[in-house]
């Protein structure tokens, strides 16, 4: 198929929108509840016995209690209830897919398809505490023990915080110049706008007892053997460190990019007008990363953005809420669109070709013009990062580090959690893993010194 786009301007271009439009597009996507709205919403909570929402929360926040404390004007107590179970309660209030977790389990969903807005209430309470700048928890007396945490994302920081609370010293080894993990580098900018991730990190670190060392990558700057020798325990919160790729063209084409890298560049750009984006963008994938990439491409000024998913629409892993939001934001979602090849001209991508034959898709080749193709077909953990150095590496299963119920790996004194281990790839799950690991490490250290 001939390229239908006139090549009079660069296909990838920064600054498609003016500063005002960009500021609006990347501001808070879902504004907070007002105090009055929060009271009305809090009053909708039935304060269930053995509440199903608690069970649905990976960190088991006592949701009825925190909502009751909003209702009775005890915002400090509400926030403490949340943060005692999930120190990233403020980020999770913004990024959790609540519609498949607590809010799906809310009994009002069963009753009237209208759950209590738990996420919005959680944000209300945690924002109020963060505004005061007061860290609500105190450290237990110093134990003299020291733990290495590898990876400064939600799993690692949650682990570090709980260890610090319990009186242990913690050093976090972070590969990048900024800690925060996906909250800093991976979540769509309009979900955690401004410098929210760093503000929250500062708030969490105020507990004390935690040192973060940046630009320390495992296998390059630090080794597992050394960490085990010099610390009383090690927690691995390595996250996804690799992406799945598709081989769709014989040689690399400009305009074809990994969606995770696109989002990370966007997040780290102080000025969004410096980020290049195509005019016609196709995002390949069906998860929330695909949605995030598509939405942000659109908000950078791409005029036609399409998400192409290979299978049946109901199998897309992006939540229904995110899909609907994308559609109502002008994103086209096409299912049954398995990519077959990329077309290019002069080293630049011009179109993507899909296998035909899906239900309702007709037959034969199906070509979608595109000057930017973002690949979002999944992230993975690359166990090769341990390098050849260590005398022993933790056992793996299905491409992730194998852990027991207490997040212990096969190596004595080495624990792991978050996306590098099995389980839901959610911030809230990573936080839970880190918290559980910290409790296991604490129990182990106390038993050893008993």
């Amino acid at each position: 198929m001939a390229d239908t786009l006139a090549a009079t301007e660069p296909r990838l271009r920064a600054g498609r929108l003016d500063a005002g439009a960009l500021a609006a597009n990347f501001s808070d996507a879902h504004p907070p509840l007002s105090a009055g709205q929060a009271l009305v919403e809090a009053a909708r909570c039935y304060y269930c016995h053995d509440a199903p929402c608690i069970e649905a929360c990976p960190t088991a926040i006592d949701i009825p209690a925190f909502i009751a404390r909003i209702a009775d004007g005890n915002l400090r107590g509400s926030a403490e209830t949340i943060l005692s179970a999930n120190i990233f309660g403020a980020a999770c209030a913004r990024v959790c897919p609540t519609e498949i977790l607590c809010e799906r389990a809310c009994v009002r969903t069963a009753q009237e398809h209208a759950p209590v807005r738990i996420g919005a209430l959680q944000r209300h309470a945690t924002d109020a505490l963060m505004r005061t700048g007061v860290h609500p928890f105190a450290r237990a007396p110093e134990t003299g023990r020291h733990v290495a945490v590898v990876g400064g994302g939600p799993a690692g920081i949650a682990c570090a915080h709980r260890l610090a609370m319990l009186g242990h010293g913690v050093t976090v080894y972070e590969a990048r110049p900024r800690a925060g993990g996906l909250n800093e580098h991976g979540v769509a900018a309009y979900k955690l706008p401004g410098d929210f991730a760093q503000d929250e990190l500062d708030f969490i670190l105020r507990i004390g007892g935690i040192t973060i060392l940046h630009d320390r990558r495992l296998g390059r700057d630090i080794g597992l053997d050394a960490l085990r020798r010099t610390h009383d325990a090690v927690f691995l919160g390595l996250g996804h460190n690799a992406v799945r790729s598709l081989a769709l063209s014989p040689e690399p084409l400009a305009g074809v990019q990994d969606a995770v890298a696109f989002i990370e560049d966007l997040r780290q750009a102080a000025d969004k007008s410096t980020v290049a984006v195509g005019d016609r963008v196709v995002v390949v994938g069906g998860g929330n990363t695909a949605i995030d990439a598509a939405m942000q491409a659109s908000r950078l000024g791409a005029r036609a953005v399409t998400i192409a998913y290979r299978g049946a629409p109901e199998l897309m892993s992006a939540t229904r809420f995110e899909q609907d939001w994308a559609r109502t934001s002008g994103i086209r979602i096409r299912a049954w669109s398995n990519p077959r090849a990329l077309h290019g001209a002069a080293g630049q991508v011009t179109a993507i070709e899909f296998d035909g034959g899906g239900p309702g898709q007709g037959h034969g080749p199906d070509i979608e013009p595109a000057d930017m193709v973002l690949i979002a077909v999944g992230q993975r953990f690359d166990g090769g990062l341990f390098g050849a150095g260590p005398s022993a590496v933790p056992a793996m299963a299905a491409g992730r580090i194998l852990v027991d119920a207490g997040q212990a790996t096969s190596l004595p004194g080495v624990y792991a959690g978050g996306d590098c281990t099995a389980g839901a790839d959610l911030t809230v799950q990573a936080v839970q893993d880190g918290k559980v690991a910290a409790l296991s490490i604490d129990a182990m250290l106390r038993a050893a010194s008993a």
Partner: protein
């Protein structure tokens, strides 16, 4: 369409909804708007002798409940603070312009006969339909030996009522205070004094809350608070009880009753009428939402009466009175048992924890958050049925009688029981 016309002690109105004596009936402007909106009558805010009293700034203290900012309030406003002549002129104009509406004037003057004899002719000259003696105001005026200070002493109630009956041809309605231990005492006293009707209840003595920063009771006036009178939906059950006590009292049979206290909807009004009221008075709901609520009340009452086949108010007035009995008349052998509809249950567990923690341990929790009544343990208290957030999910099922109807007087546990065949 049901006939909503109302007659109370000879005072006629096109519907039973009157605005009670309060700020909404303090002046011509408000009352014109009220009548334009459809209110059947008003009781003009209480008049006193000149010079007028003064009111303070900061008159209401709100009670908020579960996200509703105004669930009820305490007021510390006194009677009309405008000159008597101003009020009287306005009442006259309104009555002239709205001859079909009930115009009752509330009065409160010092407790001496000359004072009452002085004001009655002035009021009568307005052409109003009747007067309401304010023996209920629970704050401020009671400190000056008026309002509730009269209403709380049956002898005074009878005495002042008699003075008024002797000095005017107008129907005299006596407004009762709920701040007494036995509402029958002032009600009987009013009847003995010749009252043509009684109205109840006035507000309930209250402090709306305490400002925990300023440490002042609410409402606060320049750093201090005083008790006031509470109103709003929460007082309705208290009003209904007092109304029912009077309605079923043989000594007061036939005494016309004007019911009020927390009425905000047609259903509230229908309940008062079913318990014996000839008409109702409304204040708080109108102060919260404006005069237009009367249209909803008229429409709702009319539709309900049509559905029930009640052509007039008289056709259902007092029908619940005969069923309002002393506890000792209840059938202790009657039994109901709760039933949970599993198809409607949303698994909130509220029934379970309430029964388990605070009641009779008669709900079983099964795997999967399924809840089931243990019928042998259930005493039929209704608690679970009331607190279940899902309508009709928990119902109370009457059980087949296993023993003949019996009251406590006949029960074997009663050491003073009436034995069969005993002649008393």
């Amino acid at each position: 369409m049901a006939d909503l016309r109302c007659s109370l002690a000879g005072i006629r109105s096109p519907n039973p909804f009157w605005l009670a004596s309060a700020p909404p009936t303090d002046k011509e402007y408000n009352v014109r708007r009220a009548f334009a909106a459809g209110w059947g009558g008003v009781v003009w805010k209480t008049l006193g002798l000149d010079p007028p009293i003064v009111n303070v700034s900061g008159r209401y203290g709100a009670v908020s409940h579960q996200g509703r900012r105004l669930a009820g309030f305490t007021n510390i406003e006194l009677i009309s603070d405008r000159p008597l002549a101003t009020n009287v002129a306005e009442i006259k104009r309104i009555k002239r312009d709205f001859p079909d509406r009930a115009m009752v004037v509330s009065l409160m003057v010092p407790c001496d006969e000359p004072s009452w004899r002085a004001i009655l002719p002035i009021v009568e000259a307005t052409g109003c339909d009747g007067i309401e003696l304010n023996f209920g105001c629970p704050h401020g005026m009671s400190e000056r030996n008026m309002g509730a200070a009269i209403g709380q002493v049956p002898e005074y109630v009878e005495m002042v009522t008699r003075w008024c009956k002797a000095a005017t041809r107008m129907p005299v309605m006596v407004k009762l205070t709920p701040n007494v231990t036995d509402i029958l005492a002032p009600a009987r006293a009013a009847a003995a004094g010749g009252a043509d009707a009684v109205s109840l209840i006035n507000t309930i003595q209250s402090i709306a809350g305490v400002d925990l920063d300023a440490m002042t009771p609410l409402p606060a006036v320049d750093g201090q608070g005083t008790h006031g009178g509470y109103c709003g939906p929460a007082v309705r059950p208290i009003a209904l009880r007092m109304l029912g006590d009077i309605a079923r009292d043989p000594a007061l049979r036939g005494l016309p009753l004007s019911g009020m206290g927390g009425i905000g909807t047609w259903r509230d009004a229908a309940e008062f009428i079913a318990l014996g009221a000839a008409g109702v008075q409304v204040c708080t709901a109108a102060m919260h939402h404006g005069h237009r609520i009367v249209a909803d009340m008229i429409d709702g009452l009319s539709n309900w009466m049509d559905a029930k086949g009640h052509a007039t108010l008289e056709s259902f007035r007092g029908l619940a009175v005969a069923n309002y009995v002393p506890w000792g008349s209840l059938n202790v052998n009657f039994r109901t048992v709760a039933h949970i509809d599993p198809d409607l249950c949303i698994s909130c567990g509220k029934c379970y924890v309430a029964c388990e923690d605070t009641s009779h341990q008669s709900i079983a929790k099964l795997p999967g958050r399924l809840y089931r009544i243990i019928e042998d343990e259930c005493v039929g208290c209704n608690l679970c049925a009331h607190l279940c957030p899902v309508e009709r999910c928990i119902t109370m099922v009457p059980q087949p009688a296993t023993a003949a109807r019996a009251t406590w007087a006949e029960h074997s546990n009663n050491p003073h029981r009436t034995l069969p065949g005993t002649v008393r």
